[in-house]
């Protein structure tokens, strides 16, 4: 248990995090594109991609909300050791992590304020599969249209309708990552 908590982080934190961030940035800048994120071996049920996202973006300044099966002892300890992020409820979090159904309802998360729309949560959604098909995406970052296997449609449509307020989503599955910012129109 102890070794599982302490191990599994980036082998070379500065450059591994730089690579991981470039992948996440490309994913957020180009909704619908899939990117590989490997190099982290987290305890179950966390996927390597979601773990890399946590290590790249989270620290003591970013309260995390864990949902469902992800809210377990092993993962709490791993996150505490590797990021130091405080674990909080949905209303106070900067990041939320879990399966799609465990993160509901979306109205529980901060969506920013009209003056500061950036003060909103980013949801890291673990999906059983992730592929570039399914819902049609349009908006900034997409030349014409893109596609992504979203777990829902109406939720993302109403999120986009709140622009510039809203939540941003990072989808992970295994070592794959994709993202859906609030600016993307979904159909």
């Amino acid at each position: 248990m102890q070794t599982e908590t302490l191990s599994g982080g980036f082998a070379s934190p500065a450059t591994d995090a730089a690579h991981a961030f470039r992948a996440v940035m490309e994913a957020m800048a180009r909704p619908g594109t899939l990117h590989h994120l490997a190099g982290v071996q987290p305890p179950a049920p966390l996927s390597p991609a979601a773990a890399a996202v946590l290590l790249t973006l989270c620290d003591v300044d970013t309260p995390i909300c864990l949902g469902g099966a992800h809210d377990c002892d092993g993962l709490r300890r791993w996150i505490a050791f590797h990021t130091g992020a405080p674990l909080v409820g949905a209303a106070d979090c900067a990041f939320a992590l879990g399966a799609w159904e465990d993160l509901q309802p979306l109205s529980a998360y901060p969506e920013g304020t009209p003056e500061y729309p950036d003060r909103s949560a980013t949801l890291i959604v673990e999906l059983p599969r992730l592929s570039a098909d399914g819902a049609t995406l349009q908006g900034p970052g997409i030349a014409d249209r893109a596609a992504l296997s979203l777990p829902d449609l109406a939720a993302f449509q109403s999120n986009a309708a709140r622009f510039p307020l809203g939540l941003d989503f990072i989808f992970t599955s295994g070592d794959l990552v994709a993202a859906l910012p609030r600016s993307t129109r979904v159909s």
């Binding site: 730089a18 961030f21 300044d61 970052g141 600016s183």
Partner: protein, 285 residues
Amino acid sequence: MTDAAYNFAYLDEQTKRMIRRAILKGLAIPGYQVPFASREMPMPYGWGTGGVQLTAAVMCPEDRFKVIDQGADDTTNAVSIRAFFERTAGVAATTRTDEATLIQTRHRIPEAPLRAGQVLVFQVPIPEPLRFLEPRESETRKMHALEEYGLMHVKLYEDISRHGHIATSYAYPVQVEGRYVMDPSPIPKFDNPKLGDCPAIQLFGAGREQRIYALPPYTRVVSLDFEDHPFEASKADHPCGLCGATDSYLDEVIMDDAGRRMFVCSDTDFCGQRQAAGHRGKDAA
């Protein structure tokens, strides 16, 4: 080569994470200025501390890094920032726009078209386009929140009533995806059309003012104008004296005290490559 006393790319990891989070929010809300806790950098404010912090946060060891200052690769600002990252990150530098994967720029967008996979980092002095019209940050925040941009159109209209045309020639305000009005940094308005529908990611950093904003690829960016006074991307009406290009942005160089002058491409890489390909202007030696 790398200075082992520093972390990769100079900044500590916690600072990079803070900047990275701001970049992601900036990309999610194109044109919106995200506040960030700008650090002191080993160079004065006004020398591109915002751009340098963005560059440090996105840089990977494999990047080919290019720095331009008003289009030139060989001016003091560009040389020192390039040397800074060669030393603290050990990245390979280049002056060629097409080879570079990460480009930090002061006040120009390269002439060569950018492509997917490239990141363009702008150095921004005053990120708030409404600042000279409304000095209070609390008010400009509210104006952005309410999408209250009438004042900016009044300013452009006053230009027309005073000069007969919109006299703003650089830092020409744009509206992003029909929502946020954004300062494109002091690029000449000649470069404004390159902001929109660009395949590369564009990041803007203001160190002293502690703001980061971004344009994802293929974002709709419109320069503000009026139906009867449409936006015009202007440049000096001359060919380049060295390479003869007629479609590039030109600098005016005073040659002597008798009023002789010469117009040359501000983008040194573009001009150099054209000359290497055999193009000659009227002033070429």
